[in-house]
Subunit: 370 residues, 2 copies
């Protein structure tokens, strides 16, 4: 039992489950983030723990240990075990290939629902930053209560502090509200700066954190309505969940599923979506710019990981591997990232080019460097 | 017997010896050049062979194989053997510590003179570039002839093509000339740009290549006159040269010798120095700038070694280790050098800072990085 203030008492409910999504390849952080060791397994901010480890620990106070599940690509199963040794093998769900968030969430929901028809689940990306973890847990616990007491899908919205064009936005219907939970009016993908400014000014828009809470029975109902072909496939293998045949069944139906996000496939279509408007120091750490923003800067405004001697160098993100030193002179506002077999030097303002660079590296130098 | 044109016939004279000086640490090319693998053992220009290998091969047509000697620091003895496997152990002279060129040359001269009192020797640095090797051999062969027929010290002067402030200059006495050999009037260390321009305009000045030719008996005579304390020490161990006791004797006297260059200790003082004014495409490759100058540049004017994808990058020297790739955007006129455990990024114009950086690296990060 934990007391989060304001007379809010949290019980560790045995029906609450946590699903951590950890199948991404994090290509924007190349060359540090690599196909065989992507962002969620890295400690790019130099905190001492990987993103996925932080994500797991963020929930351990409110989720029973046996109720954690990590869904990941089969090639990362071993990495997940290394970063979260508390998990046993049955708690790591292997995707034979990436199919975006809808099939990933369906897999966890159908499997858990068979185990426990009263289950509720929080779904969280494995590579985000949360600064105020007590407040985060408070929000998640409220979300569980709300989702359990109502036939709703809950999404966590973040109060925006700037017109960021890298995030999706959720518009609330301010006339329909239950406590801190607002009915959702619209979802909008990454807007232009103009539009983002209007969103902020209106006070009706929140960042879409990609964190969701619902009862497994409720999300399954929604799959049946809005992603029928996904429902049919995951429903057809109900027999095999939590048996030795599960992996084989999943390997069979997964490639047949559409590559589709839960936002596009369900959240934008369901009419019972509520957003919990929150502030807990959140970032998806989607760019080197956000790494820079959340890092401790030295006297010259450089965010440095590793052993670096700087001369006349300002506003840079410098990331060196362990045991290697750098001497850097005359750089302003650059990303300088060294990994064992690849070096990236690129102006901070041009980091959107990194995806293109990766394609070119793959084409010209081969897949080993990706 | 080789014909170098102009009716010049060269015999491979058994009294001609070649001394390659290979004890330097090449700190200006950090982090590629390291204390345990300095410049002379590297192929910074990407020619397929190290500088010392090129130096050796440059002389093999005119020097009998058993007449080569390499003087190096004892820590590089193994490296010398790897790069010039043709040498046997007695042909590698180990200095217990670096004492500049005068003791290094004295060691070889006194040792060889005991073996063969009729010996003449060419002394050459191990880390220079020569583009026109036939012309080089022609010059050296002429130098041997001149030094054998006259009681002189011969130094090889290079016709300057620009007012370089990184070289020493030799002024000729245009009134005293034998064939292509001019009496030397003065030696000048690195001049200012103003002075260097005057030197060039006068037509009387040549770059000091640091390549010398003389009879061993003649240079010993000069040591006796101008570096008496060096003479006394090397003369005192005459018994031990070419015996099992040589190394022990050298280890004893070497630390007692002054750290002094042959230029300062003898060439500037002797009155029988002649310069052979030459043009054979020479550079001491003393700076990254000279590497840039002598490298093949790509379409963007970058001198690249290794696998590099460039975007909006011009006039750079980029040096990546084998098996590593780099993606570089938005760099102009920089030196970017990566080695296994150190990375250097520095504007080309500021490369004189590298020595200072090395000192700071040594102090702050320890000697392993030097």
């Amino acid at each position: 039992m934990y007391n989060f203030g304001a007379n809010y008492i949290l019980y560790m409910n045995q029906n609450n489950y946590c699903i951590i999504m950890a199948g991404g390849v994090g290509s924007r952080f190349w060359p540090v983030s690599r196909k065989n060791n992507p962002k969620q397994f890295l400690d790019i901010l130099g905190t001492g723990k990987s993103f996925i480890r932080h994500t797991y620990e963020r929930f351990t106070e409110i989720i029973p240990p046996e109720n954690f599940y990590v869904v990941t690509n089969k090639i990362y199963k071993q990495l997940v075990k290394e970063h979260i040794p508390e998990l046993n093998d049955t708690q790591i769900l292997s995707e034979p290939l990436g199919r975006n968030t809808a099939p990933c969430i369906a897999y966890a929901a159908y499997k858990i629902n068979k185990l426990n028809p009263d289950a509720s689940m929080v779904v969280a990306p494995s590579d985000h930053l949360v600064l105020n973890e007590p407040e985060f847990r408070h929000v998640i616990a409220e979300g569980f209560d709300f989702a359990r007491s109502n036939e709703v899908l809950v999404t966590i919205g973040i109060k925006p502090n700037r017109p960021d064009t890298g995030y999706g936005y959720i518009q609330i219907d301010s006339s329909v509200k239950t406590g801190d939970f607002h009915k959702v009016k619209t979802f909008t993908e990454k807007p232009t700066l103009e539009v983002a400014k209007m969103f902020i000014d209106s006070g009706e828009f929140f960042w879409n954190s990609g964190i969701f809470i619902w009862r497994t029975s409720e999300i399954i109902k929604q799959f049946r309505s809005h992603l029928t072909e996904v429902h049919t496939r995951f429903d057809s293998i109900t027999e095999s969940y939590n048996t030795d045949g599960e992996e084989e069944s999943i390997n069979k139906i997964y490639p047949e599923c559409r590559n589709i996000s839960i936002d596009y496939g369900i959240m934008e279509k369901a009419d019972n979506v509520y957003v919990r408007c929150s502030e807990f120091g959140w970032s998806d750490i989607g760019t080197w710019g956000s790494i820079y923003q959340h890092s401790v800067k030295d006297d010259n405004g450089n965010a440095v990981t590793g052993d670096v001697l700087e001369y006349d160098t300002e506003g840079c993100i410098i990331n060196m591997p362990k045991g290697k030193i750098a001497v850097i002179q005359g750089m302003k506002d650059f990303i300088i990232v060294d990994s064992s077999d690849a070096l990236l030097i690129c102006p901070k303002d041009d980091e959107q080019n990194i995806r293109m660079y990766i394609e070119e590296v793959k084409m010209k130098k081969g897949p080993d460097y990706i």
